[in-house]
């Protein structure tokens, strides 16, 4: 079972931001390293507030960090 359909580009953005480590990102956001790992692996869907904090820490917009697949027939 995959608990969330939300995908993310955290790993790619961390490397694009000077190889920021998971621990560094966790410290900036104020969560545990295990939570960052779980989000990266799609095992945890963060709250909207945490999602914004991650985006800010990575210097990116929410859309650049998190993606949600659209079903066929969904309005764009």
């Amino acid at each position: 079972m995959r608990p969330t359909r939300v995908t993310n580009s955290i790993r790619e953005l961390r490397f694009a931001r000077g190889r920021m480590t998971q621990a560094e990102l966790a410290d900036r956001v104020g969560v545990t390293r295990q939570t960052i790992i779980a989000i990266e692996q799609g095992r945890y869907s963060p709250s909207l507030e945490m999602a914004f904090q991650i985006a800010h820490a990575l210097g990116a917009t929410l859309d650049e960090v998190f993606q949600y697949p659209q079903d066929e027939g969904d309005p764009p």
Binding site: M1, T4, G30, V31, I37
Partner: protein
């Protein structure tokens, strides 16, 4: 040695605590059954001495859990003990699962009392419910840490 036992890389502190509670609760209840079941084979339930075994195993389980929680915290200095929103969400999920067994145990104890069953059966229904509550709560938390919190 202690740090080698308790610092498992990549495991959240709360997940380690869930493992501790699951193992300790299961072991304590197994010891209790090993002490009381043979007595139940030799005598009617009303005459079976169970209170001391129940209190000792429950007390030792609580003490052991606290001691091991302190040990994992001390053995993992890199874990800052921070509890974030994922830990809280998983904690609520686990407690939700575990509390259902407490309710079932209370209902079973109520029905046994209404049926005027011996104290032995009422106390044991409650103790079983507490043990199952602790074990299922811990297993639910571990599963949520490993596979994610279920959505429904």
């Amino acid at each position: 040695m202690m740090s080698g036992l308790f610092y498992i890389s990549g495991m959240a502190l709360e997940e380690k605590r869930a493992w501790i509670l699951a193992v300790v609760a299961a072991c304590a209840y197994a010891v209790y059954l090993a002490l009381v079941l043979p007595r139940l084979l030799d005598a009617p339930a009303a005459d079976v001495p169970y209170a001391a075994a129940l209190l000792w195993t429950a007390g030792i389980a609580v003490g052991t859990t606290i001691a091991l929680h302190v040990a994992v915290r001390m053995a993992a200095p890199r874990d800052d003990g921070r509890r974030d929103e994922r830990d809280r969400e998983i904690g609520v999920f686990g407690e939700h699962v575990g509390h259902s067994f407490v309710v079932l145990g209370a209902v079973a104890a109520l029905l046994l009392a209404l049926a005027e069953a011996d104290h032995f059966w009422i106390a044991n229904a409650l103790y079983l419910a507490f043990a199952l509550s602790a074990i299922t709560e811990s297993i639910s938390k571990i599963a949520a840490y490993r596979r994610g919190v279920p959505r429904w």
